[in-house]
Protein backbone atom coordinates (compact mmCIF):
# COMPACT_ATOMS: atom_id res chain seq x y z
CA UNK A 1 0.00 0.00 0.00
CA UNK A 2 1.45 3.37 -0.94
CA UNK A 3 2.40 5.64 1.92
CA UNK A 4 0.21 8.31 3.41
CA UNK A 5 1.77 11.78 3.48
CA UNK A 6 1.08 13.62 6.72
CA UNK A 7 2.20 17.20 7.25
CA UNK A 8 2.56 18.61 10.75
CA UNK A 9 2.13 22.37 10.88
CA UNK A 10 1.05 25.11 13.28
CA UNK A 11 1.49 28.68 12.07
CA UNK A 12 3.10 29.84 15.28
CA UNK A 13 6.61 28.70 16.13
CA UNK A 14 7.60 26.82 19.24
CA UNK A 15 4.34 24.98 19.81
CA UNK A 16 5.86 21.54 19.24
CA UNK A 17 5.71 20.71 15.53
CA UNK A 18 9.15 19.15 15.44
CA UNK A 19 8.63 17.31 18.71
CA UNK A 20 5.33 15.99 17.43
CA UNK A 21 6.86 14.89 14.12
CA UNK A 22 9.73 13.06 15.81
CA UNK A 23 7.46 11.36 18.30
CA UNK A 24 4.79 10.37 15.83
CA UNK A 25 7.53 8.98 13.59
CA UNK A 26 8.93 6.97 16.48
CA UNK A 27 5.50 5.82 17.65
CA UNK A 28 4.47 4.67 14.16
CA UNK A 29 7.81 2.87 13.75
CA UNK A 30 7.26 1.17 17.13
CA UNK A 31 4.01 -0.15 15.73
CA UNK A 32 5.94 -1.75 12.92
CA UNK A 33 5.28 0.82 10.21
CA UNK A 34 7.82 1.99 7.69
CA UNK A 35 8.14 5.70 8.32
CA UNK A 36 10.22 8.55 6.95
CA UNK A 37 10.33 11.94 8.64
CA UNK A 38 11.10 14.81 6.28
CA UNK A 39 12.40 18.04 7.77
CA UNK A 40 10.72 20.80 5.77
CA UNK A 41 12.34 23.62 7.69
CA UNK A 42 15.17 24.43 5.30
CA UNK A 43 17.69 26.79 6.84
CA UNK A 44 16.61 26.10 10.42
CA UNK A 45 16.87 22.34 10.64
CA UNK A 46 16.33 20.64 13.96
CA UNK A 47 14.33 17.48 13.43
CA UNK A 48 17.68 15.66 13.19
CA UNK A 49 18.64 16.98 16.63
CA UNK A 50 15.38 15.90 18.22
CA UNK A 51 15.76 12.43 16.70
CA UNK A 52 19.42 12.30 17.76
CA UNK A 53 20.68 11.75 14.20
CA UNK A 54 22.53 15.02 13.68
CA UNK A 55 26.00 13.48 13.47
CA UNK A 56 25.04 11.12 10.65
CA UNK A 57 23.94 13.67 8.07
CA UNK A 58 25.79 13.48 4.76
CA UNK A 59 23.20 14.52 2.20
CA UNK A 60 20.03 16.52 2.70
CA UNK A 61 16.70 17.44 1.10
CA UNK A 62 18.22 20.12 -1.12
CA UNK A 63 20.85 17.64 -2.37
CA UNK A 64 18.07 15.30 -3.47
CA UNK A 65 16.10 18.07 -5.16
CA UNK A 66 19.17 19.39 -6.96
CA UNK A 67 20.27 15.91 -7.99
CA UNK A 68 23.52 15.66 -6.03
CA UNK A 69 22.50 12.35 -4.48
CA UNK A 70 19.97 9.57 -4.79
CA UNK A 71 16.94 9.56 -2.53
CA UNK A 72 18.16 6.50 -0.64
CA UNK A 73 21.48 8.13 0.14
CA UNK A 74 19.86 11.00 2.02
CA UNK A 75 17.61 8.74 4.09
CA UNK A 76 19.19 8.26 7.52
CA UNK A 77 18.01 5.14 9.30
CA UNK A 78 17.37 5.35 13.01
CA UNK A 79 19.13 2.29 14.42
CA UNK A 80 17.02 2.11 17.59
CA UNK A 81 13.87 1.36 15.63
CA UNK A 82 13.28 -1.10 12.80
CA UNK A 83 12.04 1.19 10.06
CA UNK A 84 12.36 4.87 10.90
CA UNK A 85 14.17 7.15 8.46
CA UNK A 86 14.96 10.82 8.39
CA UNK A 87 15.47 13.10 5.42
CA UNK A 88 17.17 16.13 6.97
CA UNK A 89 16.89 19.64 5.62
CA UNK A 90 19.80 21.81 4.54
CA UNK A 91 21.18 24.21 7.07
CA UNK A 92 23.07 26.41 4.63
CA UNK A 93 20.25 27.16 2.20
CA UNK A 94 16.82 28.73 2.54
CA UNK A 95 13.22 27.88 1.72
CA UNK A 96 13.47 29.02 -1.88
CA UNK A 97 15.83 26.13 -2.67
CA UNK A 98 12.80 23.82 -2.85
CA UNK A 99 9.47 24.33 -4.62
CA UNK A 100 6.08 22.78 -3.82
CA UNK A 101 6.32 20.63 -6.96
CA UNK A 102 9.73 19.34 -5.83
CA UNK A 103 8.09 18.17 -2.62
CA UNK A 104 5.28 16.49 -4.51
CA UNK A 105 7.79 14.66 -6.74
CA UNK A 106 9.89 13.61 -3.76
CA UNK A 107 6.89 12.16 -1.97
CA UNK A 108 5.69 10.34 -5.09
CA UNK A 109 9.10 8.69 -5.27
CA UNK A 110 8.99 7.71 -1.60
CA UNK A 111 5.41 6.49 -1.50
CA UNK A 112 5.72 2.94 -2.89
CA UNK A 113 8.30 1.83 -0.33
CA UNK A 114 6.76 3.21 2.86
CA UNK A 115 3.69 3.37 5.07
CA UNK A 116 3.95 6.94 6.33
CA UNK A 117 5.75 10.08 5.23
CA UNK A 118 5.74 12.73 7.94
CA UNK A 119 6.66 16.26 6.93
CA UNK A 120 7.72 18.75 9.58
CA UNK A 121 6.55 22.17 8.39
CA UNK A 122 8.34 25.38 9.32
CA UNK A 123 6.43 28.08 11.21
CA UNK A 124 4.78 30.82 9.21
CA UNK A 125 2.60 30.86 6.14
CA UNK A 126 5.21 31.49 3.47
CA UNK A 127 7.11 29.35 0.99
CA UNK A 128 8.33 26.73 3.48
CA UNK A 129 4.80 26.12 4.71
CA UNK A 130 3.49 25.92 1.13
CA UNK A 131 6.23 23.38 0.34
CA UNK A 132 5.28 21.28 3.34
CA UNK A 133 1.55 21.10 2.66
CA UNK A 134 1.80 20.65 -1.12
CA UNK A 135 2.15 16.83 -1.07
CA UNK A 136 0.02 16.21 2.04
CA UNK A 137 -2.83 13.71 2.18
CA UNK A 138 -3.59 14.68 5.73
CA UNK A 139 -2.58 17.73 7.71
CA UNK A 140 -2.17 17.84 11.48
CA UNK A 141 -2.30 21.26 13.09
CA UNK A 142 -0.43 21.55 16.38
CA UNK A 143 -1.41 24.26 18.83
CA UNK A 144 -0.94 25.16 22.47
CA UNK A 145 -3.80 26.22 24.69
CA UNK A 146 -2.75 29.85 24.32
CA UNK A 147 -4.65 32.60 22.58
CA UNK A 148 -1.81 33.52 20.22
CA UNK A 149 -1.12 29.93 19.14
CA UNK A 150 -4.82 29.27 18.61
CA UNK A 151 -5.15 32.46 16.53
CA UNK A 152 -2.35 31.31 14.23
CA UNK A 153 -3.78 27.80 14.05
CA UNK A 154 -7.09 29.31 12.96
CA UNK A 155 -5.35 31.21 10.16
CA UNK A 156 -3.48 28.10 9.04
CA UNK A 157 -6.68 26.07 9.00
CA UNK A 158 -8.28 28.75 6.84
CA UNK A 159 -5.41 28.48 4.34
CA UNK A 160 -5.55 24.67 4.34
CA UNK A 161 -9.29 24.80 3.69
CA UNK A 162 -8.72 27.27 0.86
CA UNK A 163 -6.14 24.89 -0.66
CA UNK A 164 -8.78 22.15 -0.48
CA UNK A 165 -6.49 19.79 1.35
CA UNK A 166 -9.37 18.24 3.25
CA UNK A 167 -10.17 18.97 6.86
CA UNK A 168 -7.03 19.08 9.02
CA UNK A 169 -6.93 17.39 12.41
CA UNK A 170 -5.87 19.01 15.65
CA UNK A 171 -3.18 18.22 18.21
CA UNK A 172 -3.33 20.28 21.39
CA UNK A 173 0.09 20.24 23.00
CA UNK A 174 1.32 21.24 26.46
CA UNK A 175 -1.95 21.22 28.36
CA UNK A 176 -1.59 21.86 32.07
CA UNK A 177 -4.64 20.27 33.69
CA UNK A 178 -4.12 22.12 36.95
CA UNK A 179 -4.12 25.48 35.23
CA UNK A 180 -7.19 24.55 33.21
CA UNK A 181 -8.93 23.54 36.41
CA UNK A 182 -8.14 26.92 37.96
CA UNK A 183 -9.45 28.64 34.84
CA UNK A 184 -6.04 30.12 34.02
CA UNK A 185 -5.60 28.24 30.76
CA UNK A 186 -7.81 27.62 27.77
CA UNK A 187 -9.30 24.15 28.04
CA UNK A 188 -9.18 21.67 25.19
CA UNK A 189 -12.90 22.25 24.69
CA UNK A 190 -12.38 26.01 24.33
CA UNK A 191 -9.78 25.42 21.63
CA UNK A 192 -11.86 22.85 19.76
CA UNK A 193 -14.93 25.05 19.90
CA UNK A 194 -13.09 27.92 18.26
CA UNK A 195 -11.17 25.95 15.65
CA UNK A 196 -14.07 23.62 14.84
CA UNK A 197 -11.93 20.74 13.53
CA UNK A 198 -11.55 17.14 14.65
CA UNK A 199 -9.21 16.49 17.58
CA UNK A 200 -6.63 13.74 17.12
CA UNK A 201 -4.44 14.22 20.18
CA UNK A 202 -4.17 15.86 23.58
CA UNK A 203 -0.67 16.04 24.98
CA UNK A 204 -0.12 17.03 28.59
CA UNK A 205 2.70 19.35 29.59
CA UNK A 206 5.70 17.20 30.49
CA UNK A 207 9.19 18.28 31.50
CA UNK A 208 10.51 14.93 30.34
CA UNK A 209 9.90 16.06 26.76
CA UNK A 210 12.66 18.65 27.11
CA UNK A 211 15.18 16.17 28.48
CA UNK A 212 14.31 13.61 25.85
CA UNK A 213 14.63 16.24 23.12
CA UNK A 214 18.04 17.24 24.43
CA UNK A 215 19.10 13.61 24.55
CA UNK A 216 17.78 12.95 21.08
CA UNK A 217 15.46 10.15 22.19
CA UNK A 218 11.79 10.73 21.36
CA UNK A 219 9.61 10.46 24.45
CA UNK A 220 7.27 8.11 22.58
CA UNK A 221 9.95 5.45 23.09
CA UNK A 222 9.53 5.78 26.86
CA UNK A 223 6.81 3.38 27.93
CA UNK A 224 6.22 5.03 31.28
CA UNK A 225 5.72 8.57 30.03
CA UNK A 226 2.21 9.98 29.82
CA UNK A 227 3.08 12.36 27.02
CA UNK A 228 4.77 9.45 25.22
CA UNK A 229 1.53 7.52 25.65
CA UNK A 230 -0.37 10.46 24.17
CA UNK A 231 1.87 10.38 21.07
CA UNK A 232 1.49 6.61 20.74
CA UNK A 233 -2.28 7.08 20.89
CA UNK A 234 -2.14 9.60 18.05
CA UNK A 235 -0.14 7.10 16.01
CA UNK A 236 -2.84 4.50 16.65
CA UNK A 237 -5.51 6.95 15.53
CA UNK A 238 -3.54 7.67 12.35
CA UNK A 239 -3.71 3.95 11.71
CA UNK A 240 -7.48 4.16 11.93
CA UNK A 241 -7.92 2.76 15.44
CA UNK A 242 -10.41 4.27 17.86
CA UNK A 243 -8.50 5.12 21.04
CA UNK A 244 -10.10 7.07 23.89
CA UNK A 245 -8.37 10.31 24.84
CA UNK A 246 -6.13 10.35 27.91
CA UNK A 247 -7.84 11.64 30.97
CA UNK A 248 -5.86 14.70 31.93
CA UNK A 249 -6.93 14.73 35.55
CA UNK A 250 -3.62 14.44 37.22
CA UNK A 251 -4.27 12.79 40.52
CA UNK A 252 -1.11 13.39 42.50
CA UNK A 253 -2.14 11.51 45.64
CA UNK A 254 -0.41 8.23 46.33
CA UNK A 255 -3.51 6.20 45.61
CA UNK A 256 -4.22 8.10 42.42
CA UNK A 257 -0.72 7.41 41.16
CA UNK A 258 -0.86 3.78 42.24
CA UNK A 259 -4.15 3.41 40.41
CA UNK A 260 -2.63 4.84 37.27
CA UNK A 261 0.39 2.54 37.40
CA UNK A 262 -1.89 -0.46 37.80
CA UNK A 263 -4.05 0.68 34.89
CA UNK A 264 -1.02 1.22 32.68
CA UNK A 265 0.32 -2.20 33.62
CA UNK A 266 -2.97 -3.71 32.57
CA UNK A 267 -2.83 -2.22 29.08
Amino acid sequence: MPAKVITITSGKGGVGKTTATANLGAALALQGKKVVCVDGDIGLRNLDVVLGLENRIVYDLVDIVEGRCRLRQAMIRDKRLPELYLIPSAQTRDKSAVSPSDMVRLCEELRPELDFILIDSPAGIERGFRNAIAPADQILVVTNPEVSAVRDADRIIGIIEAEEKGPPRLIINRIKPNMVKRGDMLSADDVIELLAIELIGLIPEDEEVITSTNRGTPIAMDNKSRSGQAFRNIAQRLNGHQIPFLSLDQDTSLFGRLGRIIRQGGN
Binding site: R151, D152, D154, R155, I157, G158, I159, E161, L194, A196
Partner: protein, 231 residues
Protein backbone atom coordinates in the same frame (compact mmCIF):
# COMPACT_ATOMS: atom_id res chain seq x y z
CA UNK B 1 -17.01 91.51 15.03
CA UNK B 2 -16.87 88.97 12.24
CA UNK B 3 -19.45 86.22 12.40
CA UNK B 4 -18.15 82.72 12.32
CA UNK B 5 -19.61 80.70 9.43
CA UNK B 6 -18.30 77.20 8.88
CA UNK B 7 -18.97 74.75 6.07
CA UNK B 8 -18.59 71.02 6.55
CA UNK B 9 -19.21 68.24 4.08
CA UNK B 10 -21.51 65.57 5.47
CA UNK B 11 -22.97 62.55 3.79
CA UNK B 12 -26.29 64.21 3.00
CA UNK B 13 -24.73 67.42 1.68
CA UNK B 14 -23.17 70.39 3.38
CA UNK B 15 -23.63 71.40 6.98
CA UNK B 16 -23.43 75.15 7.48
CA UNK B 17 -22.97 76.34 11.03
CA UNK B 18 -23.75 79.96 11.79
CA UNK B 19 -21.91 81.46 14.73
CA UNK B 20 -23.33 83.92 17.24
CA UNK B 21 -24.10 87.51 16.23
CA UNK B 22 -25.98 90.55 17.58
CA UNK B 23 -29.09 89.80 15.57
CA UNK B 24 -30.40 87.33 13.05
CA UNK B 25 -30.51 89.85 10.22
CA UNK B 26 -26.81 90.47 10.70
CA UNK B 27 -26.04 86.74 10.84
CA UNK B 28 -28.21 86.06 7.82
CA UNK B 29 -26.39 88.67 5.78
CA UNK B 30 -23.03 87.24 6.85
CA UNK B 31 -24.15 83.77 5.88
CA UNK B 32 -25.30 84.84 2.43
CA UNK B 33 -22.09 86.83 1.87
CA UNK B 34 -20.04 83.84 2.87
CA UNK B 35 -21.93 81.57 0.48
CA UNK B 36 -21.57 84.12 -2.33
CA UNK B 37 -17.83 84.13 -1.79
CA UNK B 38 -17.71 80.40 -2.57
CA UNK B 39 -18.87 81.19 -6.11
CA UNK B 40 -20.19 78.29 -8.16
CA UNK B 41 -18.50 75.74 -5.99
CA UNK B 42 -21.56 74.96 -3.90
CA UNK B 43 -24.11 75.20 -6.71
CA UNK B 44 -26.80 72.53 -6.45
CA UNK B 45 -25.72 71.45 -2.96
CA UNK B 46 -28.09 70.22 -0.30
CA UNK B 47 -27.69 72.48 2.69
CA UNK B 48 -28.31 71.67 6.33
CA UNK B 49 -28.16 74.70 8.61
CA UNK B 50 -27.02 74.62 12.18
CA UNK B 51 -28.54 77.74 13.65
CA UNK B 52 -27.41 77.33 17.22
CA UNK B 53 -29.41 79.61 19.51
CA UNK B 54 -31.10 81.85 16.95
CA UNK B 55 -34.85 82.14 17.24
CA UNK B 56 -36.36 82.27 13.77
CA UNK B 57 -39.93 82.94 12.78
CA UNK B 58 -41.53 81.47 9.69
CA UNK B 59 -41.07 84.73 7.78
CA UNK B 60 -37.32 84.80 8.44
CA UNK B 61 -36.81 81.20 7.53
CA UNK B 62 -38.91 81.45 4.42
CA UNK B 63 -36.85 84.43 3.29
CA UNK B 64 -33.67 82.54 3.98
CA UNK B 65 -34.86 79.55 2.01
CA UNK B 66 -35.77 81.79 -0.94
CA UNK B 67 -32.41 83.52 -0.72
CA UNK B 68 -30.67 80.15 -0.80
CA UNK B 69 -32.68 78.81 -3.69
CA UNK B 70 -31.82 81.96 -5.66
CA UNK B 71 -28.23 80.80 -5.31
CA UNK B 72 -29.26 77.31 -6.42
CA UNK B 73 -28.80 75.90 -2.96
CA UNK B 74 -31.36 73.51 -1.59
CA UNK B 75 -32.17 73.87 2.08
CA UNK B 76 -33.39 70.56 3.45
CA UNK B 77 -32.68 70.65 7.17
CA UNK B 78 -32.35 73.06 10.04
CA UNK B 79 -30.72 72.04 13.30
CA UNK B 80 -31.33 74.33 16.23
CA UNK B 81 -31.19 74.58 19.98
CA UNK B 82 -34.34 76.67 19.98
CA UNK B 83 -37.64 74.83 20.01
CA UNK B 84 -39.30 77.74 18.22
CA UNK B 85 -36.87 77.59 15.34
CA UNK B 86 -37.26 73.83 15.18
CA UNK B 87 -41.02 74.15 15.03
CA UNK B 88 -40.76 76.78 12.32
CA UNK B 89 -38.55 74.48 10.27
CA UNK B 90 -41.02 71.66 10.65
CA UNK B 91 -43.87 73.89 9.50
CA UNK B 92 -41.90 74.67 6.38
CA UNK B 93 -41.39 70.95 5.77
CA UNK B 94 -37.72 70.90 6.64
CA UNK B 95 -35.93 68.16 8.50
CA UNK B 96 -34.74 68.97 11.99
CA UNK B 97 -32.45 65.97 12.36
CA UNK B 98 -29.58 64.90 10.20
CA UNK B 99 -30.30 61.19 10.59
CA UNK B 100 -33.04 59.93 8.39
CA UNK B 101 -36.10 58.78 10.30
CA UNK B 102 -36.60 55.03 10.71
CA UNK B 103 -39.77 54.90 8.61
CA UNK B 104 -37.99 55.91 5.44
CA UNK B 105 -35.35 53.29 6.10
CA UNK B 106 -37.84 50.52 6.23
CA UNK B 107 -39.08 51.45 2.80
CA UNK B 108 -35.54 51.69 1.52
CA UNK B 109 -34.50 48.27 2.75
CA UNK B 110 -37.65 46.77 1.26
CA UNK B 111 -36.68 48.20 -2.09
CA UNK B 112 -33.23 46.69 -1.73
CA UNK B 113 -34.74 43.28 -1.15
CA UNK B 114 -36.72 43.61 -4.35
CA UNK B 115 -33.79 44.77 -6.41
CA UNK B 116 -32.11 41.41 -6.49
CA UNK B 117 -30.33 38.67 -4.65
CA UNK B 118 -26.83 40.03 -5.19
CA UNK B 119 -27.43 42.62 -2.50
CA UNK B 120 -26.44 40.11 0.18
CA UNK B 121 -23.82 37.40 0.31
CA UNK B 122 -24.28 34.20 2.25
CA UNK B 123 -21.32 32.38 3.78
CA UNK B 124 -21.84 28.88 5.09
CA UNK B 125 -18.64 28.25 7.01
CA UNK B 126 -16.47 29.38 9.86
CA UNK B 127 -14.78 32.64 8.93
CA UNK B 128 -11.25 32.25 10.24
CA UNK B 129 -8.41 34.53 11.23
CA UNK B 130 -6.81 36.25 8.24
CA UNK B 131 -9.95 36.13 6.11
CA UNK B 132 -11.18 39.53 4.99
CA UNK B 133 -14.51 39.97 3.26
CA UNK B 134 -15.61 43.22 1.72
CA UNK B 135 -19.04 43.51 0.19
CA UNK B 136 -21.11 46.57 -0.74
CA UNK B 137 -24.38 44.93 0.34
CA UNK B 138 -25.38 42.87 3.36
CA UNK B 139 -23.39 39.92 4.67
CA UNK B 140 -24.88 36.84 6.28
CA UNK B 141 -22.63 34.22 7.85
CA UNK B 142 -24.01 30.87 8.90
CA UNK B 143 -21.17 29.88 11.22
CA UNK B 144 -18.72 31.56 13.54
CA UNK B 145 -16.55 34.59 12.84
CA UNK B 146 -13.29 33.95 14.67
CA UNK B 147 -10.93 36.54 16.11
CA UNK B 148 -8.61 37.91 13.43
CA UNK B 149 -11.29 37.72 10.71
CA UNK B 150 -12.70 40.90 9.18
CA UNK B 151 -16.07 41.51 7.59
CA UNK B 152 -16.74 44.87 6.02
CA UNK B 153 -20.18 45.45 4.57
CA UNK B 154 -21.95 48.42 3.05
CA UNK B 155 -25.16 47.16 4.65
CA UNK B 156 -26.02 44.96 7.60
CA UNK B 157 -24.08 42.04 9.02
CA UNK B 158 -25.89 39.03 10.41
CA UNK B 159 -23.90 36.25 12.06
CA UNK B 160 -25.73 33.03 12.78
CA UNK B 161 -23.05 31.92 15.21
CA UNK B 162 -20.45 33.42 17.48
CA UNK B 163 -18.98 36.74 16.43
CA UNK B 164 -15.45 37.34 17.75
CA UNK B 165 -13.75 39.04 14.82
CA UNK B 166 -13.91 42.58 13.49
CA UNK B 167 -17.04 43.75 11.74
CA UNK B 168 -17.87 47.02 10.03
CA UNK B 169 -21.49 47.50 9.01
CA UNK B 170 -22.58 50.51 6.97
CA UNK B 171 -18.98 50.97 5.89
CA UNK B 172 -19.98 53.56 3.31
CA UNK B 173 -21.58 55.69 5.97
CA UNK B 174 -25.00 54.13 6.46
CA UNK B 175 -25.77 54.92 10.08
CA UNK B 176 -28.87 52.75 10.06
CA UNK B 177 -26.83 49.58 9.53
CA UNK B 178 -27.09 46.87 12.16
CA UNK B 179 -24.99 43.94 13.33
CA UNK B 180 -26.66 40.84 14.74
CA UNK B 181 -25.10 37.71 16.17
CA UNK B 182 -26.16 34.75 18.26
CA UNK B 183 -23.23 35.55 20.52
CA UNK B 184 -22.03 39.10 20.03
CA UNK B 185 -18.53 39.71 21.33
CA UNK B 186 -16.54 41.18 18.48
CA UNK B 187 -12.96 42.31 18.75
CA UNK B 188 -14.17 45.59 17.31
CA UNK B 189 -17.57 46.60 16.01
CA UNK B 190 -17.95 49.53 13.66
CA UNK B 191 -21.13 51.04 12.34
CA UNK B 192 -20.67 53.87 9.83
CA UNK B 193 -18.00 56.05 11.45
CA UNK B 194 -18.48 54.84 15.02
CA UNK B 195 -16.13 52.30 16.58
CA UNK B 196 -16.93 50.20 19.63
CA UNK B 197 -15.26 47.36 21.46
CA UNK B 198 -16.88 44.62 23.49
CA UNK B 199 -16.87 45.48 27.19
CA UNK B 200 -15.38 42.93 29.54
CA UNK B 201 -18.40 41.01 30.68
CA UNK B 202 -19.53 37.65 31.84
CA UNK B 203 -22.99 36.49 31.02
CA UNK B 204 -24.72 33.82 29.11
CA UNK B 205 -24.32 34.07 25.34
CA UNK B 206 -27.51 35.40 23.85
CA UNK B 207 -28.59 36.80 20.50
CA UNK B 208 -27.95 40.50 20.33
CA UNK B 209 -28.34 43.34 17.88
CA UNK B 210 -26.02 46.32 17.69
CA UNK B 211 -27.08 49.60 16.14
CA UNK B 212 -26.40 53.30 16.37
CA UNK B 213 -28.50 55.24 18.85
CA UNK B 214 -27.68 58.96 19.05
CA UNK B 215 -24.31 58.38 17.45
CA UNK B 216 -23.30 55.62 19.84
CA UNK B 217 -23.10 51.90 19.24
CA UNK B 218 -25.65 50.15 21.43
CA UNK B 219 -26.05 46.37 21.72
CA UNK B 220 -29.39 45.05 22.87
CA UNK B 221 -30.57 41.55 23.63
CA UNK B 222 -32.82 40.26 20.92
CA UNK B 223 -36.30 39.99 22.35
CA UNK B 224 -38.91 39.12 19.77
CA UNK B 225 -41.79 39.45 22.24
CA UNK B 226 -40.89 43.01 23.05
CA UNK B 227 -40.65 43.84 19.37
CA UNK B 228 -44.14 42.54 18.82
CA UNK B 229 -45.55 44.61 21.68
CA UNK B 230 -44.05 47.73 20.23
CA UNK B 231 -45.26 47.07 16.72
Amino acid sequence: MPIDISLKGIRQGILVTVGDAESWSEACQALLDHLDKQGNFLQGARIALNLGNYVLKAVDMGQLRDALSERELYLWAVVSNSPTTEKTAQTLGLETRLERPKKELYGASKDLALQGVEEAVMIYKTVRSGFKLQHPGHVVVVGDVNPGAEIIAGGNIIIWGKLQGLVHAGAQGDESAIVCALDLRPMQLRIAEQVAITPQRKWKPQPEMAKLVDGKVIAEAWNPKKKKAEG
